[in-house]
């Protein structure tokens, strides 16, 4: 099984040189730590920055420079700043190549639910609905099951939807899976020490298994 860092490391392997990438809050933010330095990528922050750099040292903290999670950040050389309208213009316009975000549930046709649990405090969707409606490629970082053991990879989402037919790939604590355009979770890799049967038992939606399923290589 993968911990949060393991999930982030595995997702980082999906990154390619030349990509503009939006990272969501939580595990997705950790992905930045594991992108090989040999790769030239630009991280987008939807509050108006292309070129997110590392967190600042104490002497370089600038309250006028934060990411979408309201954390203090720095800018890489060659960064660009812009308004929220321009930011979502580039998101809706399909310029962002890869969006990585968390999910509470994903359905076998790629619907995602990640913004609201009825009966609990509603914090708002932030930029998630805009991102999932327009991203070229969406990878979801999530736990395969709830703490109670219920599958979060479902036939149909039970929670309020964030977007329809949009998730392309899932990296969970148990597996890497593609969401096929025709429907279904295609099992690609197992997490270290996890069996195909464990993944079968943890997946409520249609699971497609073809041939031997290799174990992930986290390098």
């Amino acid at each position: 099984m993968l911990d949060k860092i393991g999930i982030a490391k595995r997702i980082a392997q999906e990154v390619r040189s030349g990509m503009y990438i939006n990272l969501g809050i939580g595990i997705p933010t950790l992905v930045a730590n594991y992108i090989p330095t040999s790769m030239n990528v630009v991280l987008q922050s939807e509050n108006g920055l292309l070129g997110i750099g590392p967190f600042p040292t104490e002497d370089r903290v600038d309250p006028d420079l934060i990411n979408a999670g309201k954390q203090t950040i720095t800018m890489m050389p060659g960064s660009a700043l812009f308004s929220s309208a321009d930011s979502f213009g580039m998101i809706r316009g399909g310029k962002v190549n890869l969006t990585i975000l968390g999910a509470m549930e994903v359905s076998e046709n790629g619907d995602i639910a990640n913004w609201k649990v009825p009966g609990k405090m509603v914090k708002g969707m932030g930029g998630a609905m805009d991102l999932v409606a327009s991203a070229q490629n969406i990878i979801v970082a999530m736990q395969h099951c709830s703490k109670e053991g219920a599958s979060k990879l479902l036939k149909k989402c039970s929670l309020p939807i964030t977007g329809l037919n949009c998730v392309k790939k899932i990296v969970s604590d148990l597996a890497v899976l593609d969401v096929l355009p025709t429907g279904g979770f295609k099992l690609l890799e197992r997490a270290p020490g996890v069996s195909v049967d464990q993944i079968k038992n943890a997946t409520e939606g249609k699971l497609i298994i073809e041939g031997e399923i290799p174990e992930m290589n986290l390098g």
């Binding site: 108006g48 700043l81 929220s84 708002g124 932030g126 930029g127 609905m129 309020p160």
Partner: protein, 240 residues
């Protein structure tokens, strides 16, 4: 060619002066993302004057003891229109008790609705929210095989924005990610009030660098005592 062209002087003394004619019950746009780029001086003046029954359009609702959170605590806000409000316990209490009305909007849709309001575009189509509860009661249309949702513009009686530098004719320059919603909100207020960290005379700002042209701004003043509170002070040991 005209020999004498004077820029319009829009400066007012301070926040108290800038907000003095805002009545109860108006719709206010307030710039900022989290606590970054919020008009601290005007929020303090609205708090002190006790203007109430406000509908606030702002991406977030501040924190318990700063930003719009200050106006929530004193129950000056009747309704919030925002995309994310998760940092505020008093907000949560008022929402659950039914004291506060809330409309949640996808962040990009919020930005574009405000932009559309200033640009004279009454409605537009966006893919964000299709198939979700955001789409309930709204018109959808298919363009080139994909479904889009119609969203209306947003306008405000007063827009309050914060910039880094400004001149007396209302030209504005923002800094860092403190720009966020401020430029669009500046365009869509019937009256737009700008507070800046540094107010200079006309001619001192480079016209090539202006983010918000002065036509959108009606009042401007140099703010004071900016706290610029940080929500998530995140430090690394990495040398950049």
């Amino acid at each position: 060619m005209a020999k004498h062209i004077f820029m319009i002087d829009k400066r007012v003394a301070n926040a108290v002066e800038a907000i003095k004619d805002i009545p109860n019950g108006v719709t206010l746009m307030i710039g900022g993302f989290g606590l970054c780029g919020i008009p601290e001086n005007c929020i303090a003046a609205i708090l002190q004057k006790g203007i109430t029954d406000l509908t606030c359009i702002s991406n977030n609702a501040g924190v318990d003891d700063f930003g719009i959170g200050l106006l929530l605590k004193t129950k000056q806000v009747k309704k919030m229109i925002s995309s994310y409000v998760g940092e505020n316990a008093e907000f949560e209490r008022q929402l659950l008790s039914g004291e506060l009305e809330v409309e949640l909007i996808p962040q990009g849709t919020l930005a574009e609705r405000v932009r559309a309001g200033g640009a004279g575009i009454p409605a537009f189509f966006t893919p964000a929210g299709v198939g979700t509860e955001v789409a309930e009661g709204k018109e959808t249309r298919v363009f080139d095989g994909k479904t889009y949702l119609m969203e209306r513009w947003l306008r405000a009686d007063f827009s309050i924005v914060k910039a880094w530098k400004g001149d007396t004719s209302g030209n504005l320059i923002y800094k860092g990610t403190a720009r966020n919603f401020n430029p669009m909100m500046a365009t869509s207020g019937t009256v737009t009030i700008a507070e800046v960290e540094e107010l200079v005379e006309v001619g001192e700002l480079d016209p090539n660098q202006i983010h918000t042209p002065g036509i959108f701004v009606h009042r401007i003043f140099q703010g004071s005592n900016y706290e610029k509170r940080i929500e998530q002070r995140t430090i690394s040991n990495l040398k950049i």
